[in-house]
């Protein structure tokens, strides 16, 4: 790299700014022969981005100018030579200078690598029947390189027949060795193998195969069996799911003393059956009590609409009718306009239709408040799920004879639990407590003078 020029330190074009790769010398401020202190300005450089004055990195005598005014030099190229006082000047660490190549100690006749056969060498030797002990190695440490083997093969010294005939795929273009022929092999330079090259012998695919899914056999048919999901079961599932996820449920309960109601009903039921032909159930009385309470607390009959609460004027009671397999909620429309007898008739009507599966769509829609007679299957405490999008769900539990304390004396009374699930976005404890109190009052006010019609 160093040409024969004046001895001294080369001053090179510095890297003035990012992305600049060259600079033009516009003016030399010093001439050969001038003595230059370190950091004296020696020339002016012009680039696309900046114009600078170039300070000298070393002090000494300017011996030779290598790049004249007006000429452009690349970053790192020498523009002049300065001879520093004291002869041995270290060269400025510019790029492109000679560096000691860090070559491995190969020149000594070390043959430690002679026995190291690379995969390519072994393959070629096997394919062409080369005795590697006879191949001269020119790699470091005397290693036999692939080129050495190729040269050996090309010179025709491989004599024995190829050892393997295992049908391994040989790429086209390799020098053909004709077995048994004593002629020299044609010295063909091996071309690049055909692609794809699968030399490992293992067939590996790009992407893993789709795993086979093993279906475990049924455990002799005893472990479990399946039931189809009927449409009605599906509807119950989705409706209850929606209700539970959207409505924050809260729950409260009170007890009511319905001894008088029991007496009243027992007195009237036979005559009612004779006259009307239908059962007079407790539910009719309960519905009346509830509906009257709703009239006093209309907030129970509402719907949450995020930025407003919609209070429904019509009280349409969703009655819960269940069988072993399903549950439906037919609606008694405008229940506040009906008498107890009328309610009894509706209840009977809807229940029969529901059990027979003959409810129409109109009879199932439009409910604003739900009443559930859970006592009919013996429950004394329930936590009902609100019928979305109503505000509350009321249950009438089983009537149980119990000893209670009245005016500091023990009496045996018919007690019943009244449970209420409420939408806590609309309703709170106090208002629901008042509502339940009103229902309780209504129930406890039934006596032998109550009119059914």
């Amino acid at each position: 790299m160093t040409q024969t020029r004046a001895k001294g330190t080369e001053v090179t074009v510095p890297h003035l700014a990012e992305s600049l790769v060259s600079a033009t010398v516009s003016r030399w401020l010093k001439q050969p022969g001038d003595y230059i202190e370190q950091y004296d300005v020696i020339c002016e450089l012009i680039t696309e981005k900046v114009n600078v004055e170039m300070p000298s990195p070393v002090g000494g005598t300017l011996v030779e100018i290598l790049v004249e005014e007006g000429r452009t030099a690349a970053v790192g190229e020498a523009i002049c030579i300065i001879e520093e006082p004291g002869s041995a000047a270290e060269s400025w660490p510019a790029s492109g200078e000679d560096r000691q190549p860090d070559a491995p100690a190969e020149t000594a006749p070390d043959s430690g690598m002679r026995g190291r056969y690379s995969p390519a060498v072994q393959r070629l030797a096997a394919e062409h029947g080369v005795d590697l002990l006879r191949v001269p190695g020119t790699g470091i440490g005397g290693r036999i390189t692939r080129k050495d083997v190729e040269k050996f093969i090309a010179s025709g010294q491989a004599v024995s027949a190829p050892q393997t005939a295992n049908g391994r795929e040989e790429s086209g273009g390799r020098s053909g060795f004709r077995p048994g022929a004593g002629e020299p092999v044609q010295p063909v330079m091996p071309e690049a193998p055909r692609i794809p090259v699968r030399s490992t012998g293992i067939h590996m695919k790009e992407y893993p195969l789709n795993p086979k899914i093993e279906v475990e056999g049924q455990p002799e048919g005893r472990g479990e069996y399946f039931i189809d999901v009927t449409p009605i079961r599906h509807t119950i599932a989705s409706r209850t799911r929606q209700s539970v996820t959207e409505i924050p449920h809260a729950w409260t309960m009170i007890e009511a003393d319905v001894t008088n109601l029991v007496v009243l009903r027992n007195k009237l039921k036979d005559e009612f059956m004779r006259k009307e032909g239908i059962n007079l159930t407790y539910l009719a009385f309960v519905l009346k009590a509830v509906v009257n309470a709703i009239k006093d607390y209309p907030i129970m009959n509402s719907v949450w609409a995020v930025d407003k609460i919609i209070i429904k004027r019509d009280i349409n009671i969703s009655l819960v009718v269940g069988t072993e397999d399903f549950v439906v909620t037919p609606v008694i429309k405008k229940a506040d306009e009906k008498t107890i007898a009328g309610l009894a008739r509706e209840i009977d009507d809807l229940t029969k239709k529901a059990r027979a599966g003959k409810l129409s769509l109109g009879e199932m829609q439009g409910g604003t408040f739900t009443v559930n007679n859970t006592g009919s299957f013996g429950s004394i405490l329930s936590y009902p799920i609100i019928n979305y999008p109503q505000a509350a769900n009321f249950t009438f539990e089983s009537i149980v004879k119990k000893p209670v304390v009245i005016q500091d004396m023990i009496a045996v009374r018919s007690m019943v639990n009244l449970c209420l699930s409420l939408d806590h976005r609309i309703l709170d404890g106090v208002i629901c407590g008042r509502f339940l109190q009103r229902v309780k009052e209504n129930l406890e006010s039934y006596n032998l003078d109550t009119k059914l019609y």
Binding site: H15, A17, E18, S19, L20, V21, V75, P93, S95, G96, R99, P101, D102, A103, P104, E106, S118, P119, A120, V121, Q122, R123, G139, I140, R143, T145, R146, K147, M189, A192, P193, I195, P196, V197, R198, S199, T200, M204
Partner: protein
């Protein structure tokens, strides 16, 4: 044919594509005035500030807006002022752009180009020198390209703009003004996913991309005088790698040296090595070597540290010679 710089190749590619297709637009910090490295010079004057759009200082917004516009039907070229700043946009690129086509079951695609000027140009240190290609390498759904010369730069940028998928276009800052070459004046593209043999040889194979490829060619020329013949392969596309070309080049000589400016661990070279080792064991005559800067967080600012860290023609020549003589 004209001889132009790598930078002009990139600039003219964008200009020609914007002329050809009015959906193409560039956005980035300071692109309007021409860009801090002059990559977008003249585009605002010619196409208006809506198509050469200055953005706020927010790489994730640059990428995100580009992605949204691309999904809407535009062809966005999002410029990261320096690749070092691409990281705030990483989530947009990897979680959104790369996955849109897949997660929409093919209904949507995202034809964006993210231009990332990377690599050390000198005195750039931490924030103007990084090579972040290994961060995105290996992300399915992204294409990564890294040209080394003006012809490939222009052809690949045009191909990237016309491509239907997100492409990260890594342009090496050192190449901008220091590498010039002949580029045709008529329209042409360089296909994405194809490597290019830049020099035929028989003694060893050198695989590289970006600025270091140019050093490899210079080193190869010097070694020629010593009788060592190097086969040089320019990857051009980092993802998807041109496996056929890599295997063919490696099988050609059996000795492979992979060179890149990104640090060794986890870089593109590691994947290329693995591919060669997995499929070409019986062609190999020497261990697969990688020459890369040390695993250090960034290039040093001091000239001494910078010189120690970066690769240059001499270091590459020495490594090539050692491998050739192995």
């Amino acid at each position: 044919m004209a001889v132009i710089t790598y930078l002009e190749a990139i600039r003219s590619a964008m200009e020609e594509e914007m002329q050809r297709d009015e959906r193409v637009f560039v956005l980035g910090e300071d692109v309007g005035k021409g860009g801090v490295l002059n990559a977008t010079k003249g585009l605002r004057d010619r196409f208006g500030e809506q198509r050469c759009l200055d953005t706020p200082l927010s790489e994730s917004a640059i990428a995100g807006v580009a992605i949204g516009a691309a999904m809407y039907g535009m062809r966005a070229i999002a410029e990261m002022q320096f690749a070092d700043f691409i990281f705030p946009a990483t989530n947009q690129i990897i979680s959104e752009a790369a996955k849109i086509h897949y997660r929409s079951n093919g209904d949507w695609n995202c034809p964006i180009v993210v231009r990332a000027p990377y690599g050390a140009a000198g005195a750039g240190s931490l924030y103007h020198s990084q090579c972040p290609e290994s961060v995105f390498f290996g992300t399915p759904g992204l294409k990564l390209v890294a040209p080394s010369n003006p012809y490939d730069a222009k052809g690949l940028l045009k191909a990237a703009i016309r491509d239907e998928d997100p492409v990260i276009y890594f342009e090496h800052k050192k190449c901008y003004l220091s590498i010039s070459g002949e580029v045709p004046e008529e329209d042409f593209i360089v296909p994405i996913g194809k490597a290019d043999v830049k020099r035929e040889g028989t003694d060893l194979t050198v695989i590289s991309y970006g600025m270091t490829l140019n050093y490899c060619l210079q080193a190869a020329q010097e070694l020629d005088r010593e009788g060592i013949s190097a086969h040089v392969l320019d990857l051009r596309t980092l993802s998807p790698l041109d496996k056929e070309a890599i295997l063919a080049a490696a099988a050609r000589t059996g000795k492979v040296l992979i060179v890149h400016e990104d640090n060794k661990t986890g870089g593109v070279g590691a994947e290329v090595s693995a591919i060669i080792a997995e499929e070409l064991l019986y062609e190999l005559d020497a261990p697969i070597m990688r020459l890369c800067p040390p695993d250090v967080p960034a290039v040093g600012l001091s000239p001494v540290a910078e010189k120690f860290y970066l690769l240059d023609r001499d270091k590459i020549r020495e490594a090539m010679r050692n491998l050739a003589l192995y």
